[in-house]
């Protein structure tokens, strides 16, 4: 599984001075990775988030509109019904005063008969009374003793005489039953002003609110223009007290608006002013009712957004990491090749220089050799003379020095001239001895024991002598650097499988940590601080690969290190 195998890439790892990760070399890759992740995430996630937000708002608007419409419709229907109810009762009173004279209505018996007829046709009337122009109730039918009561100073009396009709707020009467009063004014043929007044039970009003058919969390009620509750409310105040919702300004049509309560919660407020009355029919719907479906849908949308974002981020992280890793590997390979080229070119230049110098030295060396030889010949021919032995000794010393110089120049020439790949038959034991010739002095000075362990019957290989010298010189040089004075380096030459020979260089030096072992063949990786270039083993690795071989390393801190170079052998050699 991809995620199961996911590891933090090297270039994102913690800082370590020796690991090569988290160092300055990793910074460009880390930056590239960050840029890639951020840009890809922005390009992928921003449109997704944008679309989700737009969807959320569009759905919200659509759902709100869907909720508002039936509420408005229901309010309008109830407004019409309630207006009809009030208009019907006003019309009944108006019919009574127009079809009867003031005297007829002042007659108690007549009024009782009229009250019965009216109540038979229009339910809800509690009482009925006729008030003359001076405010005196000349007749009254109802549960109270109100005949003779004077209303001349009552506000409603002034209002009805001025406007022609009157509908009161709901109030608790003497019987402690809520009701409201309606009254009409009339002038008979003789110009006498009379007012017919009746009261109606408020329970009929409440039925108009109840018929709005609401959910338990919603509320419907009637208030007057000052916001006093005219019917009971579930949750917006006590009956005949101020409601906890504001009364919106007058609108002739039913309206639905969005409001925010004192707790900052949104709710939907629908209202309808009832014409020819102080009543306002109101309905309050809570967000749970309005947005119940919407909240579910919004949860689904946000869930989809979250899952999509997580999946996109995983894919982005995985692909960016893979891309930067590949890039890093490609850069590493390119750097390795460039270093190989640079190193080979450098070595070729040094080789040419060394060859020139060695050749130029070799000729005068040959002359010294011949002159010393001739001197020896002449001395030996001359017979005895004083200090003859001493002279011969000196000449032999010169010849020995020439021989030493000659060995050096031959090695220099031999080493320098093999920079290009030239295949030849090589016996690895001999080649290792040639390489040790360069390091023999150091081994002697530092008392390092070097031992050969050559398996019998190891075939010669076909390879490039100069390049192999370079490989083993680097590895043995490192082994010498790793051991203490008096240390030990063992060289094994043995068969390895059917088509390979292996050269093992084993030292008992300080060893290499596991962390460093991972990076040991990387260019510029060194544990020798300022003394190493970090190129030796990387070049060595490159050369061994070029020669078709493999190089492996095992190490244990405090016990030593073993490098194994496996080189191919032509099938015919076995």
């Amino acid at each position: 599984m991809i995620l199961g195998d996911f590891k933090l890439p090297g270039f994102l790892g913690a800082k370590s001075e020796e690991s090569g990760d988290g160092t300055e070399a990793s910074l460009p890759y880390r930056r590239l990775w960050k840029t890639s992740v951020i840009l890809t995430a922005l390009v992928s996630l921003v449109p997704l988030i944008f679309m989700t937000v737009i969807n959320i708002f569009q759905y919200q608007r659509a759902l709100t509109a869907e909720m508002e419409h039936p509420t408005t419709l229901l309010l309008s229907n109830n407004k019409r019904s309630l207006e009809f109810f009030i208009a019907e009762r006003l019309s009944a009173l108006r019919l009574v005063v127009r079809t009867h004279t003031a005297d007829q209505l002042c007659d108690q018996q007549n009024l009782e008969r009229v009250f019965r007829n009216v109540n038979d046709s229009f339910s809800g009337f509690v009482d009925l009374g006729l008030i003359t122009a001076d405010g005196t109730q000349c007749s009254y039918v109802g549960p109270y003793r109100l005949q003779g009561k004077n209303y001349h100073d009552a506000d409603w009396f002034h209002e009805v005489t001025a406007r022609g009709e009157y509908v009161s707020d709901v109030f608790m009467g003497y019987r402690d039953v809520p009701h409201f009063a309606i009254a009409v004014r009339h002038e008979d043929a003789a110009g006498r002003l009379i007012v017919l007044r009746a009261t109606v039970g408020a329970d009929l009003l409440a039925q108009y609110a109840i018929s709005l058919d609401l959910k338990p969390t919603s509320d419907a009620f009637i208030v007057n223009s000052r916001g006093i509750l005219q019917t009971p409310s579930r949750s917006h105040g006590e009956f005949l007290k101020k409601a906890t919702v504001p009364v919106p300004p007058y609108r002739s049509e039913s309206q639905v608006t969005e409001q925010v309560d004192t707790d900052g919660r949104r709710y939907m407020l629908g209202y309808a002013y009832i014409d020819r009355s102080p009543f306002v029919l109101m309905v309050v719907k809570r967000p749970e009712d309005i947005l119940g479906k919407w909240l579910t849908l919004r949860g689904d949308l946000l869930g989809f957004l979250a899952v999509s974002a997580v999946l996109i981020l995983i894919v982005i992280l995985w692909s960016s990491t893979a891309m930067v890793n590949q890039l890093k590997e490609a850069d590493k390979k390119r750097a390795q090749i460039l270093h190989n080229i640079e190193y080979t070119s450098k070595m070729a230049s040094i080789g040419r220089l060394a060859a020139g110098v060695a050749h130029e030295i070799n000729n005068p060396l040959a002359i010294i050799n011949e002159k010393a030889g001739l001197l020896t010949d002449l001395v030996e021919m001359s017979g005895e003379f004083p200090r003859r032995g001493e002279v011969l000794e000196i000449v032999r010393s010169i010849e020995k020095s020439v021989e030493r110089c000659s060995t050096i120049t031959h090695r220099l020439l031999g080493f320098a001239k093999r920079m290009d790949l030239r295949t030849e038959s090589i016996r690895l034991e001999e080649l290792l001895k040639e390489v040790l010739g360069f390091l023999g002095k150091e081994a002697n000075y530092r008392n390092i024991t070097v031992e050969f362990h050559v398996q019998e019957g190891v075939p010669a290989i076909e390879s490039d002598r100069g390049q192999l010298q370079q490989v083993f010189l680097n590895i043995i040089n490192n082994a010498f650097a790793a051991v203490q004075d008096g240390g030990r380096v063992d060289l094994f030459v043995e068969r390895a499988g059917d088509h390979e020979v292996a050269v093992k260089i084993q030292d008992n030096g300080h060893g290499i940590s596991k962390e460093n072992l991972k990076h040991i063949f990387e260019p510029f990786f060194t544990t020798k601080k300022e003394y190493g270039t970090g190129l030796g083993l990387s070049i060595t690795y490159g050369i061994v690969e070029k020669l078709g071989g493999r190089i492996e390393v095992e190490s244990e801190v405090g016990r030593g290190t073993t490098f194994t170079v496996r080189l191919p052998v032509p099938a015919t050699k076995f």
Binding site: N362, A366, I367, I368, E403, H410, L413
Partner: protein
């Protein structure tokens, strides 16, 4: 008794070639030294040699070219090459081109003498 071995030494290093000739003369060799390929070709026009000791690297006419010309004139005469390089490759290459053997600078006089005698014998047997 066999005649003295006649050897022509050719090397652009004057000090080397004349000293070497003198040492060979001490050891009973009829050695003549010249310092260029051209002088070598002139010398073999004047007299016959059993062995030519020839430096590979010389200015002007190089050792291998001189050997080819000598061989063209007298294919029996054996040539020993002197190489200053660190490996036997140049000598081996020279031997493939017709040289009898090679020696490396600085020269070990005893080795040289052995090789000269072998080459001289080969020349005389071929004639």
């Amino acid at each position: 008794m066999m005649d003295k071995l006649r050897v022509l030494l050719v090397d652009d290093e004057e000090e080397l070639v004349f000293t070497l000739a003198e040492r060979l003369k001490i050891r009973g060799v009829d050695a003549q030294a010249v310092t260029s390929g051209k002088a070598a070709l002139e010398a073999i026009e004047q007299r016959s040699f059993d062995v030519i000791l020839l430096d590979v690297k010389m200015p002007g006419l190089g050792g291998l070219d001189v050997m080819k010309r000598i061989k063209a004139r007298d294919r029996k005469v054996q040539v020993i090459l002197i190489t200053g390089h660190g490996s036997a490759e140049d000598g081996a290459q020279g031997m493939q081109s017709g040289a009898f053997d090679y020696v490396m600078k600085p020269i070990n006089i005893n080795d040289l003498l052995t090789k000269l005698q072998a080459a001289g014998q080969a020349t005389r047997e071929g004639r």
